[in-house]
């Protein structure tokens, strides 16, 4: 027996996320140009670097990646539960609020309205709206899970439920206006680090756990590994925030605890990765672009989560912290790993929702290779440049300004790589648009 899924909420969340992905990446490219030509779009307050950077980071995280993952959750959860979504009406209302939040965020940020805490910049009334939207999302997902047909829940559901809980607590506690001084910094990084670790990681992993078996046709490699991976990440991740302030004005014991737990993160990551590779076995060479995105995403997840624990070690942190190296690292997590998982999910889910193939598989292949090559150029140039920068900072006789000038060639390569990444996402959006549009025009023909 098959359940008929309406998928209205899922579909519209995905459309929105794909469009907004373009906006955020265009802002990213603008920033990359400003690194090479600092007077580019100069003299306009709303387009100043400090104003658009926050639109880029928050836009990528909440406007693209979280929106895409919510859309994919609205798609996968009913299927894993073997029942219809709890309420499509509630879902569409959630989308309405979400779109309003993101658009209001762009306007408020451009006008300089910010709380000036990393990833918590949204002003208070937008914070409240996010909380309301998240509760509505939670009701819909838990409501669907509650009336599931199968008692046993698949691993993707654990991660999605965990994310809903983690995000709620992180968001509310992180936003309380009661902290000051170095404790404010510590709470900020308790939130900031876990925004990646307990929102985007578990959502991305949930999607990979669902779409890797689906796209390859292989069964999940190991149930036991998925249990170990889930509970170790639930236990270990929350302790890591302070590794962002190593050598900084916080207690040494707190730094050391963060380092110990950061290194321990190799356990959940390698467990999950082993499970992904096990599930991908035999499908490496025959994969289409969906499998390519999943495979590359898995490799980037492995690499970024190897870098992370290593960065926390004092001897490494001394060199790379505060440099451009970290920008490469952050983009490997958010773009290379979790965006790749979400893109693969969209390529898989959209044809199922619309009941027709993607408009062009060739464009999908181009999308993958341009994203892949563009990202490598972006990250490798920043890793090399950032490492040199870190070493130069260790010699105080080298003037700071000279270490800025030394970055020029790397910033230039980064800018062109960004152009590749941008082009790739234009192809993605075009492909999605054509897939949707063809169906709509056919519908119209059918109706007339």
């Amino acid at each position: 027996m098959t359940t008929l899924h309406e998928d209205k909420t899922a579909r519209w969340f995905l459309y929105f996320s794909v469009v907004f992905f373009l906006v955020t990446i265009l802002i990213g490219l603008t920033m990359a140009i400003k690194f090479v030509f600092p007077d580019f779009l100069g003299g306009i307050a709303a387009l100043g670097f400090g104003r658009i950077r926050v639109i880029h980071t928050n836009g990528v995280l909440f406007g693209w990646l979280l929106a895409a993952n919510m859309g994919l959750a609205y798609y996968t959860v009913p299927r894993l539960a073997g029942t219809k979504l709890f309420s499509e009406k509630l879902g569409i209302a959630t989308l309405g609020i979400w779109v309003f939040i993101i658009l209001a965020a762009v306007i408020t940020f451009a006008s300089g309205d910010t709380q000036a805490r990393e990833y918590l910049e949204l002003n208070w009334w937008l914070d409240v709206l996010v909380t309301i939207a998240w509760v509505m999302f939670a009701v819909n997902i838990f409501g669907t899970i509650a009336k599931r047909k199968h008692e046993q829940m698949y691993v993707s559901l654990w991660y999605i439920m965990g994310t809903i809980f983690w995000t709620a607590i992180l968001w509310i506690v992180g936003n309380l206006p009661v902290y000051s001084g170095v404790n404010d910094a510590n709470v900020n990084w308790w939130f900031g680090h876990n925004a990646v670790g307990l929102i985007f990681t578990p959502m991305g992993v949930a999607m990979a756990y669902y779409f890797i078996p689906k796209a390859t046709g292989n069964p999940l490699y190991s149930h036991k590994l998925s249990i170990i991976g889930f509970w170790t990440i639930a236990f270990l991740y929350i302790w890591n925030g302070a590794h962002h302030i190593i050598f900084g004005p916080i207690p040494t014991w707190l730094q050391t605890v963060a380092i110990l737990f950061s290194v321990s993160l190799l356990i959940p990551v390698w467990t999950v990765i082993a499970n992904f590779f096990g599930t991908l076995r035999g499908k490496w060479s025959q994969g289409n672009y969906i499998v390519k995105f999943l495979l590359a995403g898995t490799v980037f997840y492995l690499l970024t989560c190897f870098q992370g624990p290593m960065h926390s070690l004092r001897s490494v942190n001394q060199i790379v912290s505060k440099t451009d190296w970290i920008i490469g690292h952050a983009h490997m997590a958010v773009f290379g790993a979790f965006s790749f998982f979400a893109i693969a999910g969209i390529y898989f889910a959209l044809p199922k929702i619309l009941k027709r193939p993607m408009y062009s598989d060739k464009l999908g292949e181009w999308h993958f290779w341009l994203s892949f090559v563009g990202f490598l150029g972006f990250a490798i140039s920043l890793w090399i440049g950032g490492f040199i920068q870190g070493l130069q900072w260790m010699n105080y006789t080298i003037a700071f300004l000279d270490t800025v000038k030394a970055m020029f060639p790397y910033y230039l390569i980064r800018m062109f790589s960004g152009l590749f990444m941008m082009t790739a996402q234009i192809l993605f959006a075009y492909n999605v648009y054509k897939t949707v549009q063809v169906q709509d025009s056919q519908l119209q023909t059918a109706l007339s």
Binding site: G42, G48, Q115, N186, G248
Partner: protein
């Protein structure tokens, strides 16, 4: 009873783990008095400085400038004073290291502005490093004072005649306040003076001894 079939059990387990890590890494520091006791010289921001801090936040200065001298030799050297600077301003030739940042300096910061990235240099010790004229010129046209800089020109903080607006004046007042919650420039120069005086007295003594012996 397995968590795979009980959603409540799963969420409960997740909550316990989250509470554990949060307690030790967040609640314990929140109750640590040494983290919110002001330093001896710490003063709350004046109204103008506070307004400047708001401009600093609004323009996102903190995305490219950290405010923490890390507890590392290369940072206390880089953000301290070089020989030329100490000679020009205090008449003393010495390389003076900046103190590493301490929790007590930040107690009046809400929100904190420690930052994470140094596209430009750290600003935790910038107060008193440059005069106001330099700061205004740098803010309006960074490349006029620092060729090769990639900082944006904050032209919207200046009027048609290129004069600083109230906001620019407040921002520079805020920058001049940074790092002054420890009076390190004056104190360390004084230390050097005393040390040099002591050394020269010792030199005189040994010279006198030498003469007597001859």
């Amino acid at each position: 009873m397995k968590f795979e079939s009980k959603a409540v059990l799963l969420v409960l387990g997740v909550a316990v783990f989250m509470a554990l890590g949060t307690y030790f890494t967040m609640v314990v520091p929140l109750t640590d008095e040494s983290l919110f006791t002001p330093t001896k010289d710490a003063k709350p921001y004046t109204a103008v400085e506070l307004k400047g801090k708001e401009v600093y936040q609004r323009e996102g200065c903190w995305y490219c400038h950290t405010q923490q001298v890390r507890n590392l030799l290369e940072e206390t050297q880089r953000y301290g004073m070089g020989e030329e600077e100490t000679f020009k301003r205090f008449g003393v030739r010495a390389l003076i290291q900046a103190p590493p940042s301490q929790p007590g300096e930040y107690v009046y910061d809400k929100p904190h502005l420690l930052g994470t990235r140094r596209v430009g240099p750290d600003l935790a010790r910038v107060g008193g490093k440059y005069d106001n004229t330099w700061q205004f010129n740098h803010l309006r046209d960074p490349r006029s004072t620092s060729p090769g800089s990639i900082m944006p020109s904050y032209t919207w903080l200046f009027d048609k005649n290129g004069l600083p607006t109230e906001e620019a004046i407040a921002l520079i007042a805020y920058l001049q306040k940074l790092g002054t919650n420890i009076k390190w420039r004056e104190e360390r120069v004084e230390q050097v003076r005393r040390l040099q005086a002591k050394t020269s007295t010792q030199e005189n003594h040994s010279l006198a001894e030498l003469k007597e012996n001859n």
